[in-house]
């Protein structure tokens, strides 16, 4: 069985105009980027739009992309993080307490909907009430299981700062979950 090409080779091919290489890079990362946005923005549709924008920016930036010893996805996450900031800058009214539209209606597959248990929804909502940095860190570290050093680079933090932040983020999430369990109506508000 043929080994998939390594990422550096793919990037070089893409930079030389190889469409297939671009497509393979997209295929490798699209789900992770989409998943990231699903935690960071309200709706599935927005997550799809932002995912699309990430990859448009990827192809626009390929010409100037330089390998700095980091995985390619670190660059994509940085683009994604910038887009989230831009998104919330443009959509200032942000009701993080509300149940996202996506959890009510976007998952049209009935089996999907059954699969989302209440605890997971609460967890996602709780994450979205946290500061931006905490959200990024928790999603990248524990949901997407990115290496610690890679997250530190993506977030421009030192290893020590990231460790401290991770501790605080977990604590904050725990407190938020506890607050939500004390108030059952938390997270059931109108959305958007």
């Amino acid at each position: 069985m043929q080994q998939p090409p390594n990422e550096q080779a793919l990037i070089a091919q893409a930079q030389s105009g190889d469409e297939e290489a671009v497509s393979l890079l997209y295929e490798r990362h699209v789900d992770a980027i989409f998943e990231y946005f699903r935690y960071r923005v309200d709706s599935k549709t927005t997550a799809e739009d932002l995912t699309s924008e990430v990859f448009l920016r990827m192809v626009r930036g390929l010409g100037s992309y330089r390998d700095k010893g980091l995985p390619f996805r670190a660059w994509l996450y940085r683009i994604a993080g910038n887009l989230v900031i831009d998104y919330y800058r443009q959509h200032k009214k942000r009701d993080t307490m509300a149940l996202p539209e996506s959890y009510e209606s976007d998952d049209t597959d009935p089996f999907d909907r059954l699969a989302i248990d209440e605890e997971q929804v609460r967890l996602r909502l709780a994450i979205r009430t946290l500061p931006e940095d905490y959200q990024d860190l928790l999603v990248m570290r524990f949901v997407q299981e990115l290496p610690h050093t890679e997250i530190a680079k993506i977030m421009n933090k030192s290893a020590a700062a990231l460790r401290a932040m991770q501790h605080r983020a977990i604590k904050a999430l725990g407190e938020q979950m506890e607050a939500m369990s004390r108030n059952p109506t938390f997270g059931q508000g109108d959305d958007q």
């Binding site: 070089a12 699209v30 699903r38 524990f142 050093t149 030192s158 700062a161 401290a164």
Partner: protein, 338 residues
């Protein structure tokens, strides 16, 4: 920090996070995005914006063709610059600049209320000095600045505001793209969203090239002074007269009295200049002050939380130096810190 240092509730949370159902993008949407992306890619390839394959393409490409292309592009740019010159009756600030003149770009409102189509105020404060022929044309961001190259021109541009994007060595503030030296350690410190102050000068292509970068908006590290970089953060390590702040080695003079009292964990504000290059770069201190030196139970992992409006408070976690560590393999779960 390892698992045993987490509460059972925190461990449960991490387990929950790891077990959440993963979303995959809808197949139809996936293909639609791919098609759009590839369409864009084709357009880019056709326009020649991608770098050609290294070595093979360039070595066989006749140099005179490149030179010819460069000449054509230069002529087009000059032509466009002439066409875009402001007319007499528009409101574009046009002034003669002196070699010491500063152009200050500051937001007209708080960063949170800046809209994409707002035009930052441009203050031009001329001083009496020999006149050079330079024109500044302000428009909605991105700002277009055309200059008539003048060897003695030292127009200083100061931009303060939140960083909206960092791509390679380009920092974007209010849609102004500013080039920072690629190896500048400040690039490892500033994040999107940070409010920074950048001073720089226009290069011959009209791009602002930073000469002073500070992540402390209230710190005066203005050009003409002695310091070009400002840092704030907890002291992570002390080795002789070199301390580490935000992973950057900071070099004090060996007889600096502060060294007698400074401890790991102290939160310091540093102004200085980078010296050296590559891995040996250090920030040589011009001024350093301890903002607060709260240390609880010898715990160095205290941090200052800025609540805005000049208010803030300290946090300290009950963590040892091992901290909350993760294996760098990414899958190792909770392991020891570095």
């Amino acid at each position: 920090m390892n698992d045993s240092q987490l509460t059972p509730e925190e461990q449960t949370l991490i387990t929950q996070l790891r077990s959440v159902r993963k979303h995959k993008i809808d197949p139809a949407v996936r293909e639609a995005i791919r098609a759009q992306m590839l369409g864009e890619f084709r357009a880019i390839v056709q326009s020649g914006q991608l770098p050609s394959t290294p070595t093979t393409g360039l070595t066989s490409f006749p140099f005179y063709v490149i030179a010819g292309l460069v000449a054509v592009v230069a002529i087009v740019i000059i032509g466009l610059a002439v066409i875009n010159r402001p007319s007499e009756n528009n409101a574009t600030p046009t002034t003669a600049l002196s070699p010491t003149q500063q152009v200050v770009v500051v937001p007209t409102s708080t960063p949170e209320t800046i809209l994409a189509n707002e035009t930052p105020t441009i203050e031009v404060t001329p001083t009496i000095a020999p006149i050079v022929t330079t024109e500044l044309i302000a428009s909605t961001p991105p700002m277009i600045v055309t200059t008539t190259p003048e060897p003695t021109l030292e127009t200083v541009v100061v931009v303060e505001g939140p960083v909206s994007e960092i791509a390679d060595n380009r920092v974007t503030i209010y849609d102004y793209s500013i080039a920072v030296e690629p190896q500048h350690p400040i690039l490892n410190l500033i994040n999107v969203g940070d409010v920074v102050r950048i001073e720089g000068m226009f290069d011959s292509s009209g791009v602002v090239v930073a000469s002073v970068v500070s992540n402390i908006p209230s710190t005066n590290v203005v050009s003409g002074g002695e310091a070009t970089v400002g840092l704030e953060g907890p002291v992570e390590a002390i080795d002789g007269n070199v301390i580490v702040v935000n992973s950057i080695p900071v070099q004090l003079t060996p007889d600096d009295p502060l060294l007698q009292t400074l401890e790991v964990g102290d939160f310091v504000s540093v102004q200085g200049n980078f010296q050296g290059s590559g891995a040996t770069i250090v920030l040589v201190v011009v001024n350093i002050t301890i903002v607060n030196n709260v240390i609880i139970d010898d715990n160095p992992l205290c941090w200052y939380h800025d609540d805005g409006m000049g208010m803030g408070h300290w946090h300290c976690d009950g963590m040892g130096m091992g901290g909350m560590g993760m294996g760098d393999d990414g899958m190792g779960g909770m392991g020891m810190g570095q």
